[in-house]
Amino acid sequence: MDKVFRIIFGCVLLFMFFRYLRKRKRWEPSQSRIVGLLYLLTFLILIASLFPNVQLMPINYINDYFSPQMKMWVKQS
């Protein structure tokens, strides 16, 4: 991911999070909790993406381990 994009994305995330803090009292508590959890997850993933060797996405795991096995099995049979 591009560095400039990462900075812009971080700023947008912070802005949206502060907007959420202001607005959340008007929402139902369960809604507010879920939105907060989504922001927290996004923030954690953004932080983790700073470490290039960390494999974050479960899709990439499946793709790296399962797809080649499946491909080999299909081609053999």
Binding site: F5, M16, Y20, I34, S49, N63, V74
Partner: protein
């Protein structure tokens, strides 16, 4: 919020068409051709059956739990914790669809239209577009413009390529092993399994039977149209070239050479295809919003949109670092993941739906027995189902006869295409019969769940 919206049967059929048709155009065709080679044109027969089975389970759920969506049904049937866990898996599945499509489409746009634009910017714009759609009703109306345009442009493309066809590129027809043909079908089942997304919008479809027939018709449109596209792809390029390309359909469009001055026809077609691609992602996004909304127990989905959009941007950017990863995942892993999630879930929901209907004494048919509507509906239902089954049997018999009577294999293509046309027409008539009956009896009113 979703309960107040209503979309009609034609919009449902075309939405299903839009969702399924665009799903495989980016990363699936080349993988199917690698496996099924010259017989890749038979790739959609088992998936059609699978998609109809999903629609049947949704029909049962529509009858058994009127006014409830798939997530609410799971909460109702399995309780707060187990239901919540299954719903979480479903949300992860929808998130996976979104990430595949958003990333795949961004790579596609970068390769075909905007090679100098950073991928992040394409993805950002695309997700902003997705976030601007807040109801399925609006999406269905937009799709009413672009889906017919997509189908017509695809058929027009096949007509404009007529000077490029070489029948010898299909030879020897049915020479691929039965396992190869089966794996081609298996790879496509994940794409057709996306019909389950419509379970999130069950309350919007007032009449479950009409909803079922509309989904079936949509599936048949896709089965027919994608079959023709695949046949065109093999006739123009042959399996050896098509299996090596990243975007074979784009390369197919670029082969159109009608006159010297009519160049870059792909730009016109891409301008029609891009909104159609976007429709699928929007439907998946709305399904995800509905799922998350069901956890909050509320009907208002607006507060989730910005946070979910940001979450999708970062996860999509970090998934599939190379374009080949998307192709590999869609081709070899996606169906396994989809079947792992969907098959037990559908079986469980079907059984629970039947039990619930029996308990409520709600097992009677939607169309009363003995009426001409019922007779005509049953005839069309049998004809379409037998036509689909006939496609499978024709392919199997053709394959069986291949060694002894090779000349028969060329007739297999003609028979399969004719059977697909019959299934398409009869599925349309099936849908129209239910619609006319509901209009006649005055049951097609907003808010009446029967």
């Amino acid at each position: 919020m979703l309960q107040r919206q209503v979309i009609n049967h034609r919009q449902v059929a075309w939405l299903v068409g839009g969702v399924l048709m665009t799903g495989g155009m980016i990363g699936l065709y080349q993988s199917i051709i690698q496996v099924a080679k010259v017989d890749a044109w038979l790739f959609q027969i088992i998936p059609i059956m699978y998609a109809i089975l999903i629609a049947y389970v949704l029909l049962e759920l529509g009858h058994a739990f009127p006014g409830k969506n798939l997530f609410e049904i799971l909460f109702l049937v399995c309780g707060k914790w187990v239901g919540g866990f299954i719903n979480l898996i479903l949300l992860l599945y929808i998130w996976m669809i979104l990430v595949i499509d958003v990333k795949g489409l961004s790579y596609f746009v970068k390769a075909s239209l905007l090679p100098q634009t950073p991928l992040e910017v394409i993805l950002l714009v695309f997700i902003l577009l997705m976030m601007s759609y807040r109801t399925l009703e609006v999406t269905a109306r937009v799709n009413e413009i672009f889906f017919p345009a997509n189908v017509i442009s695809s058929l027009l493309m096949l007509c404009l390529l007529i000077n490029e066809y070489d029948v010898q590129r299909l030879d020897p027809i049915l020479s691929t092993s039965l396992k190869g043909i089966f794996f081609g079908n298996y790879m496509t089942m994940g794409m057709f399994g996306d019909v389950l997304l419509f379970g999130a919008f069950l309350p919007m479809f007032i009449q479950p039977r009409l909803f079922f027939t509309a989904i079936k018709h949509g599936v048949m449109i896709v089965g027919f149209a994608t079959g023709l596209i695949m046949l065109g792809l093999l006739l123009v390029m042959g399996h050896s070239i098509a299996s090596r390309l990243s975007y074979p359909v784009l390369a197919l469009v670029q082969q159109i050479h009608v006159t010297d001055f009519l160049d870059r026809v792909d730009i016109f077609l891409l301008s029609i295809w891009f909104p159609s691609f976007a429709i699928k992602v929007i439907v998946a996004f709305l399904a995800l919003l509905t799922g998350i909304g069901s956890f909050a127990g509320g009907t208002q989905h607006k507060p989730f949109i910005p946070s979910l959009g940001l979450f999708l941007i970062i996860t999509a950017l970090l998934s599939f670092p190379q374009v080949e990863d998307v192709e590999r995942f869609v081709g070899y892993s996606y169906t396994s993941v989809v079947l792992f999630i969907q098959v037990p879930l559908l079986l469980f929901l079907w059984i629970r739906g039947r039990i619930e209907r029996r308990r409520a004494g709600n097992l009677k048919s939607d169309l009363p027995h003995g009426t001409r509507y019922n007779q005509f509906y049953r005839t069309m239902e049998w004809t379409s189902n037998l036509s689909i089954l006939g496609c499978l049997l024709t392919a199997l018999i053709g394959k069986w006869c291949f060694e002894q009577y090779m000349f028969l294999s060329q007739y297999v293509i003609i028979i399969v295409v004719v059977l697909l046309v019959i299934a398409l027409v009869t599925s349309y008539l099936q849908m129209q019969t239910v619609n006319r009956y509901l209009h006649k009896t005055g049951r097609k009113k907003i808010g009446t769940y029967t």
